[in-house]
């Protein structure tokens, strides 16, 4: 063998060793759940794997577990925590290593992650496509969803939409505010945006009445929560789980866990769930092209 060949071979070997020595490892922790919800975490994990260069370890969290003990078992430098149980692990680790949280409607609160809250721009763009007559959007928010309002306002303005944002801090205030909305005029030009908010989009008290009144008044309601389309909203945002996984993988590579404030991103890509009965009631008729873009339609 000639010396030059030997040198090239040696360099390649060294490079390979270096690469192997510094290969990244990541742990993804997520809840152990039954079907069909387990598919969501599988899709997210698939997305993470496709984006992350390195070894991805999985940890399934049972319903009852000790967060401290579980977090101590995680030896990788990077952690992606999914769901509510994942968040408990994230809270143990985020100060010591890079941790991002996903599959939760998080807001900036010290831990980085990708919120389930869809990018308002995408929502408004969809609104424009599906209900072009709407010119004003009303959104009630509480401290849980306050963080997105500023961005939403900018994005709405950019699209020529008026965003009426009403702050409330309890259910009663939300109810009163919503009631007042329905007493207003030009409801056919207005849409109600239901953010991922436990007060302003309360499943038990608010949503049933809002959807009912919206039906009666032929008002558009769209939501950031996937299940609302099934219940009667015109459309709601569905996360693309694989793309969410990729987004999480990119984020974990880029965050500096030591810096403050944390980085919380909105969903960059969404899928649409559309209620065609509501659409018909509101007078919207979507052609096959448009329908082909809907990930889910209701009724089934």
């Amino acid at each position: 063998m000639k010396p030059v060949h030997f040198s090239i071979f040696f360099i390649l070997l060294l490079l390979s060793w270096c690469l192997n020595a510094h290969a990244e490892e990541l742990t993804v922790v997520y809840p152990e759940v039954k079907a069909p919800y387990d598919k969501i975490f599988q899709q997210i994990t698939r997305g993470i794997k496709s984006e992350f260069i390195g070894t991805v370890h999985h940890v399934k969290l049972p319903r009852k577990f000790n967060a401290k003990i579980q977090s101590n078992k995680i030896t990788t430098n990077k952690v992606i925590a999914l769901g509510k149980r994942g968040l408990r692990i994230a809270k143990q680790l985020y100060k010591f290593k890079p941790v991002v949280v996903g599959a939760l409607p998080i807001k900036p609160n010290g831990i980085s992650g990708v919120s389930l809250m869809a990018d308002p721009n995408i929502l408004f763009e969809t609104l424009h496509e599906l209900a072009p007559e709407v010119t004003a959007i009303t959104v009630l928010y509480s401290p849980a969803s306050e963080w997105i309002i500023a961005e939403a306002k900018i994005k709405a303005n950019a699209r020529g939409l008026t965003l009426n944002h009403i702050a409330v801090d309890n259910i009663k205030a939300a109810v009163v505010a919503y009631n007042k909305i329905f007493e207003g005029n030009n409801l056919d030009k207005m849409a109600i945006w239901l953010p991922l908010d436990p007060i302003t989009a309360n499943e038990r008290i608010i949503i049933p009445t809002i959807l009912e009144k919206a039906w009666e008044n032929k008002m558009v309601v769209f939501s950031s929560k996937p299940t609302h389309a099934k219940r009667g909203a015109l459309f709601s945002a569905l996360p693309d789980n694989e793309l969410l996984g990729q987004q999480l993988a990119r984020l974990i590579n880029n965050i500096n866990y030591k810096s403050r404030p944390s980085t919380v991103k909105t969903l960059e890509t969404i899928k649409l769930a559309v209620n065609l009965r509501t659409a018909a009631h509101l007078g919207f008729d979507y052609d096959s092209n448009e329908r082909s873009g809907f990930a889910l339609t209701f009724p089934n």
Binding site: L87, P105, V176, R204, I205, P208, T209
Partner: protein
């Protein structure tokens, strides 16, 4: 009543069982019907209450928004929905301070506003016509936990805040109707069941008990007719066993009867033969006895006649010898005379005995004067007693003057007994006591002579038996005196007894009826 009936042995077991079963089934059906009715009615009531609770709670959930917003209009649709239920008479929404928020329907006037604070759905008031159900309207943001919660952030658990109350007046009409229907149906079913069961039971039991009845009938018939009737073997196993045992018993009895009849016939035949033999023997004995008696009578007469001649001629010779003074020959002649007299007495006794055995001795009833009898006896026995230096006494303690009986025989037997007493007593006492009671007269002869042993007392009344029958006996006699005396007493419908101890004398008692009735 049923227990007395069960113990009534006049009723057949079949009827008793049928009655008992019917009564039991009826009681059981009644109890089951009552329990079922109560249970069903209770369940229906609980179901209706549950339904009412659900309606009220549903209303409370639907009107949260309306109560929170303070808008009655919002609540009206929910209220209308609730009033759409047939059983809901009225509904009312109250604020948390119990002020009316919205009232719809016919709220009963007698219900005054209550301010009862509750935390769960309850029946506030119950009448025969309705329930008043009240439930809190909770401002709870918590929904039921699910797997979807994994995609929600943890929220602070808020205390459930009661923002008002929902009341519903729920009518009991349906409940009453349903309960009446259930009760009627169950009663009807019960009655029909009892009826059908009774019919089936009766039919079944009649069939079951029929073989037993037939068996009892055969037994009855057998008892009445005395025949050994066999029963048909049929029916349940136990009845078949009884019938089989009964048939065996009848067969055995029949065989036993046959054996008895055969044996009886045999015995009768033998008895007939024996009777014939006995009759022959009796006749032969009677003839023999008669012959004997006739012979005795003839012989006694043939014997007595020459003896009497001897005695007569002997007395003549004695008289002549006395006249001649030939006293040596008088003693010899005296001996001849005495022995002849003895022989004559013996012949007379034999004759009497023969007559008695031949049945030819009759009783001649006549008046017997006690005083006269006593004198005769004293005159006759007095000298006889003196021969052995005995003291003879008569104690007439009798209250009677006379009796009616055979005088000759009475004198003969008393003389016989007294002469025996004189013969067997030396230097002693001989006493004749005569006493009486209402129906009988008693002649008691007591002596202080040699007495009799127990063994001797058994045979002294036998013929030809004497107390000393050896060849060298001391006392003379034929052994017929007491036998004849006993026969005489028996003929006179009396009784003769003896009490004695050896060497301590003897007491012979003759008991005779005062008035002999033949």
């Amino acid at each position: 009543m049923s227990w007395n009936f069960l113990q009534n042995s006049n009723k057949s077991i079949k009827n008793q069982v049928i009655h008992f079963m019917i009564i039991s089934i009826t009681l059981m059906t009644i109890i089951i019907s009552i329990v079922t009715t109560l249970g069903v009615n209770q369940q229906y009531r609980e179901l209706m209450l549950k339904n009412a609770f659900q309606i009220t709670e549903g209303l409370a959930k639907q009107v949260i928004f309306s109560v929170l917003s303070g808008s009655e209009q919002n609540a009206q649709e929910a209220m209308n929905q609730v009033l759409g239920f047939q059983s809901v008479l009225a509904a009312r929404l109250l604020l948390d301070n119990h002020r009316n928020f919205l009232v719809m329907g016919n709220y009963p006037a007698d219900i005054k506003g209550d301010t009862l604070k509750i935390i769960t759905t309850r029946v506030i008031r119950e009448t025969s016509e309705y329930w008043l159900i009240k439930t809190p309207i909770n401002e709870s943001t918590q929904s039921s936990p699910s797997e979807e919660d994994e995609f929600e952030l943890e929220t602070e658990v808020e205390e459930e805040r009661i923002i008002g109350y929902a009341e519903v007046i729920y009518s009991k009409d349906k409940l009453s109707d349903a309960q009446t229907q259930v009760t009627t149906l169950i009663t009807l079913v019960g009655v029909i069941s009892v009826g059908l069961l009774s019919i089936v039971l009766r039919w079944g039991l009649l069939k079951l008990f029929k073989p037993l009845g037939m068996l009892a009938s055969i037994m009855q018939q057998s008892r009445n007719t005395g025949e050994y009737l066999l029963a048909k073997i049929s029916g349940a196993k136990e009845i078949q066993d009884i019938a089989s045992s009964y048939n065996n018993m009848m067969t055995v009895l029949k065989q036993q009867e046959y054996d008895l009849i055969t044996h009886r016939d045999q015995l009768e035949a033998e008895v007939g033969i024996r009777t014939k033999e006995l009759v022959l023997a009796r006749d032969s004995a009677l003839i023999s006895s008669q012959h004997k008696s006739e012979f005795m009578a003839n012989m006694s007469h043939e014997l007595r006649t020459p003896i009497q001649s001897i005695i007569g001629y002997g007395e003549l010779v004695i008289e002549e010898l006395e006249l001649e003074g030939n006293f040596a020959l008088i003693d010899d002649m005296d001996k001849i005379s005495k022995n002849s007299q003895r022989l004559l007495n013996m012949i007379n006794n034999l004759l009497d005995l023969a007559k008695i055995e031949a049945g030819k001795l009759n009783i001649l009833q006549s008046d017997i004067f006690i005083e006269e009898l006593v004198i005769n006896l004293f005159d006759t026995i007095g000298p006889l007693a003196q021969k052995n230096h005995n003291n003879f006494k008569i104690n007439p303690k009798c209250t009677l003057i006379k009796i009616i009986n055979d005088k000759e025989k009475l004198e003969q037997l008393l003389l016989n007994l007294l002469s025996n007493a004189c013969k067997f007593t030396e230097k002693g006492k001989i006493t004749l006591s005569i006493y009486n009671d209402v129906n009988f007269i008693y002649f008691e002869i007591n002596d202080t002579g040699i007495g009799l042993s127990k063994e001797q007392q058994h045979y002294i009344f036998d013929e030809f038996r004497q107390v000393d029958s050896s060849h060298s006996r001391k006392f003379s006699g034929t052994g017929l005196g007491l036998a004849i005396s006993q026969r005489f007493v028996e003929l006179m419908k009396g009784q003769i007894t003896v009490k004695s101890e050896l060497n301590k004398g003897a007491t012979f008692t003759v008991k005779l009826p005062i008035n002999l009735i033949l």
